[in-house]
Structures are given as structure tokens and as C-alpha cells.
């Protein structure tokens, strides 16, 4: 009898401990590197992905309360249906009727990026959200207030505890959670990828476009990311209202004047407008710049000194190929939608 009691107590004790452990440990989330892709640059050891961290990041990403007047979230300018760029806007819209000086870049495959923004001024993914959160022409809030608002919210308190344990909510944990969400935005399942994997075939115009692309575009827009992450001057004239010299502002080196990061072309068909300031409203505008309108100066990229000859016929084939980079399984993945939704509801974006 006594032995039975002891055994029972022991079993209850073990079960209790197991319960505590289950309750405290977040569930690991696997980051899958697509076949043939290089290893990511982001150090997952310092910020291990978990289901709880991802869900917290997702909630933060879609939370308009992070802005000064609760009108703008990260998702206001990074919309899933627009490839996590802004549908239709050339320049991003900020707090209190302000405009930024740049076109919001699409967010995908960020684990392989070393530097962020069109000028590469931000050198770590975790540091990236600090800029839009605090810029007066973006979300316009102070980090103190962001942390204050979050710390008062019971559901955030619960979620931070679930993701990071019983530690104070601070800037570091906030940005790590946001990173966990955006790191999972991997786009690697477009028709192009399927063709490369042997699961689909290009139709004729796509195939011809792919050949033209490899001849004339791929030295900068390199597969599999469709960018080589370099900064280049593509002969874009300075806009006197924006005065945006790009990379030069970061390096203070005049050789970097008007250099901007080569953007990825994944999902390019749905991320118009194009260019660092969204000056091109269609792919046709972009082709027209490269074959005709661009201004050659000393700083123009050496690969573009003679512009890019493109016939009307070729631009059609190129467009057909670029459309194969649209990844609908990414654009419609319910995992990336606002918490509680399968797709972004229409009322979420009204900017």
C-alpha cells in the first residue's frame, strides 16, 4: 500500500514536471533551405525560430498600434498580395499625411540578405524595423512608446512569455520576433522554380524570354535570388525633390553616387511601381529606361555604358519570362496572412 502511494506520488511528480516543461518551451520551427540554394546569412543560433516567436512576429507585423496614431503597421507598406511591397504606391505613405522618399521593397528571402534598404544602410535584419518604427515620415513612434504599449497589452505579455520566456519585453525581443516572421517569408515555388526542378515546362515565349534574360539581365539579377545584392548606378536621373543619392549617403564616397541596391525580381510582375523611388509604373517603363532613356555618366555601371539593346519583340518575351517568377503559393500562403485570417481582408489597407 505504502509503496503504491509512493509510486503514485512519483508519477504525479514526473507528469507535473513534464507539464511545466511543455508549458515553458516554445515549439521549434524549421527553416527549410530550398534545394540548391546557399546557406542563409542570418544567424539562427542567436534567434532560434519557434512557432510562438513567429506568431508573435506576425501579430506585431500587422499591428497598427505600433505607429504613433495607430494607423500604420508594417503590413501597410508590405502587403502580402503585393509580394510584401506596396501595391500601386510609388512612394510609401507615412504618419500624418507624410511621404517617404522611397518605394517599399518586397520582403522575401531575407535570411540571405546581409544589408537592407535601397542603400544598404542597415546591416542586420533585427535592426531593420527600428528605422520605419521611428522615422517621422513612416510610423513616427518612439521605441519607448512602442515598448510601453506592448507591455500593457495582456495578449502580448502572454505571447512574449511563450516565445522568449519570463524576460522583460524590450527592443531586442521585439525585433527578434519581427525577424522570425519575416525570415519565414521564403519565395521559392514560382513556375520558374518548378521548371528548374523539372516539375513544369516553359511555354515558348517564356523560354525565349529566359534566354534573353540570361544574356542581358542575369549578371546583376542573379538566380536564385534574382539579385546579386550589389549597389549599382543604372543611369537614373536625380529627382530634385527627393535628392536621394542612394549608397553615397551611407559610404560618404562620391563613387557611390546614385547607386541603389539591385532589387530581386521574384514576384516582379505584381510589385509595380519599380525603382528606388517608384518612378516606373510598368515593366515597359523599365525596359524603356534601359534601352533608351537612361543617362550615361562616369558613375554609370560598367555593364550599362552602352545601355541595354532590347527590341519590342524581346521585351514581350522578357515579360513572359518575368511572369514565371510570380509565386502564388507565397502570395496566398495563409501562414503569412494577418492573425486570424486566411487572406488579407480588404479593410486592412486604407492608405
Amino acid at each position: 500500500m505504502r509503496i503504491m502511494t509512493i509510486i503514485f506520488i512519483f508519477i504525479f511528480f514526473v507528469a507535473g514536471i513534464a507539464w511545466i516543461n511543455i508549458d515553458n518551451k516554445p515549439t521549434p520551427l524549421q527553416f527549410v533551405v530550398p534545394a540548391g540554394w546557399p546557406q542563409p546569412i542570418y544567424d539562427f543560433k542567436k534567434n532560434p525560430l519557434t512557432k510562438e516567436g513567429f506568431e508573435l512576429g506576425r501579430k506585431l507585423f500587422y499591428d497598427e498600434r505600433l505607429s504613433k496614431d495607430s494607423t500604420i503597421s508594417c503590413a501597410s507598406c508590405h502587403q502580402q498580395f503585393g509580394g510584401f511591397a506596396t501595391y500601386d504606391h510609388n512612394l510609401s505613405h507615412g504618419y500624418n499625411n507624410t511621404l517617404t522618399t522611397r518605394n517599399a521593397p518586397s520582403l522575401q528571402n531575407l535570411a540571405w540578405q546581409k544589408e537592407f534598404m535601397w542603400d544598404g544602410g542597415i546591416v542586420h535584419l533585427d535592426m531593420q524595423p527600428l528605422a520605419p518604427l521611428t522615422a517621422v515620415n513612416e510610423m513616427g513612434e518612439t521605441l519607448e512608446n512602442v515598448i510601453k504599449k506592448i507591455s500593457r497589452d495582456t495578449s502580448y505579455k502572454r505571447m512574449f512569455k511563450a516565445a522568449f520566456g519570463p524576460v522583460p519585453i524590450n527592443t531586442q525581443k521585439l525585433t527578434m520576433a519581427l525577424s522570425q516572421f519575416v525570415l519565414m517569408l521564403v519565395s521559392s515555388n514560382s513556375k520558374y522554380d518548378k521548371v528548374m526542378r523539372g516539375e513544369a515546362e516553359f511555354i515558348l515565349p517564356e523560354k525565349l524570354g529566359y534566354e534573353i534574360f540570361n544574356q542581358k539581365c542575369s549578371s546583376c539579377h542573379k538566380a536564385p535570388f534574382f539579385t546579386d545584392f550589389s549597389y549599382r548606378n543604372t543611369g537614373l536621373k536625380l529627382d530634385s525633390t527627393l535628392n536621394d543619392y542612394g549608397r553615397m549617403k551611407i559610404t560618404n564616397n562620391s563613387k557611390d553616387s546614385l547607386k541603389f541596391k539591385v532589387p530581386s525580381l521574384r514576384n516582379v510582375a505584381i510589385t509595380a511601381p519599380y525603382g528606388h523611388d517608384g518612378r516606373f509604373f510598368s515593366l515597359q517603363n523599365v525596359y524603356e529606361n534601359y534601352r533608351n532613356k537612361m543617362v550615361i555618366t562616369d558613375n554609370t555601371d560598367s555593364l550599362l555604358k552602352h545601355k541595354i539593346p532590347l527590341s519590342n519583340y524581346e521585351t514581350g518575351q522578357l515579360t513572359a519570362f518575368l511572369r514565371t517568377l510570380t509565386d502564388t503559393s507565397f502570395l496566398k500562403n495563409p501562414m503569412y496572412a494577418p492573425p486570424g485570417y486566411e487572406v488579407t481582408p480588404f479593410f486592412i489597407h486604407y492608405h
Binding site: V123, D126, A131, L143, N170, T171, Q172, N252
Partner: protein
Amino acid sequence: MRTWYFASLFVIFLIVAGFTRSKSAVTTIRFKNMVGNKEMVLFDEMYTNSFGEPFSISKFRYYISHISFIDVNNKEINMAGNYYLVNEADSLSKIIQLPVASAIKSISFFVGVDSARSISGVQTGSLDPMNGMFWTWNSGYVFAKLEGQSDSSHAPAHGLTWDVGGFRQRENALRKITLTLNDNYTFTNNTITINADVLKWFDAVHPLKIAQSPTCHQSGKLAMQIADNYSAMFSIAP
């Protein structure tokens, strides 16, 4: 009975030993921000630099990192990895306590944050970007900040805003400071007081007039010149 006697003796010994150790094992560094030979007052006082330019001070902050000591036996005691934000508006921030017991001959530290730390993600504590010493658009810490107003300034609102930083090559504003204590330096309560004279920001190495450069908001030449100047502002208080 005898056992009890020895036991209580032992306990008393432990307590006394604990006290002695905790007392001697701390060296305190106190930063005293000065304007010339007067203690700094924020907002309310008008000061004049050596060019005759008047100015008032609203913010005065700097990062102190990687403190190390040389003790009287020429042994180096390294406190690497610690970062302190000295803020004139926060009196506690001006006192740094370190677990160092030996008698000190000299002290070194960096003003600013090293490049390794600047690029390895979002930090906490004194390095939390929330402290307002971080450039978000061009990642990096503001190493030191002097802000105020001056009638000599042509910037908006007559602002004097010198935010100095930069960890990249060719624009590195990180500066190492070494201060040697006099042979007959007398410690009071194991405290070393370091004066930091803001007037040196204007003229210690490069003459920098408010009228010419009232604003420094990014790394580069001006930031490095200000850093050269302020690295001469520290001295051991007599």
C-alpha cells in the same frame, strides 16, 4: 559547548571576511562633466567657447566601453565587454562600479561602441536603441552627443547638435583614452573621479566653430574631428 563557541567564532569570521572583501573589491569611477573649471549645468547656464561663441547645453551623453586598468604591479585588469552610457541628465549613470581590488596606476577606456558590437543585432541595457543613441537609417551608435542652442548657430532654432559616431573604416570615430594617476594620488573610498570638459569639444585638436558647423548628424570627417577633440576632454580630477 566548546563546539558552539568555535562555530560562532567561525560565523563571525565569515561575516567580517565578507564585509572586508566586498568593501575593498570595488573601484568606483565617477565622471564629472565640466565646462572649463565649473561643473556642468544643463539648460539654464550660458557658456562661451574659446572663439567667444555663446552656447547652452540640453543633452550631454557619451558611451564608455572596454575599461581596463594597469595596477601598481603593472598587471592589466581587463573589463572588456562592458558598455556604459554616461548621461549628464542621469546622475546614477555617472558612477561606474567595478570589481577591482588592486591599487591602480592607470586607466584606459574607449569612447564609443566597437564595430563588432555595432553590427551584431539589437542590443539591450545601456546599448538598447531606445536610449536615443542609435542611428536607425545607417546602422550604428551615436558615440557621444552634445546638444544645445547657440546664437552663433545658423541651423534651425539656433541648434547646436553634435551627434558623433561611425565605426566603419575611414570614418571610425572610436577613440581610446588612457589616463595615468599621479604617484601620490590619494583614493577616497576607492573612487577615481574623471573630469570631462566640454570646452575641449571645440578646440582641443581641430578648431571647430559653431558658426561653421552647428550640425553633425552622421559619421564622416566632421564626426572624426569632433571625436579627436573630445578625446582630450578627460582628465583625472586632482
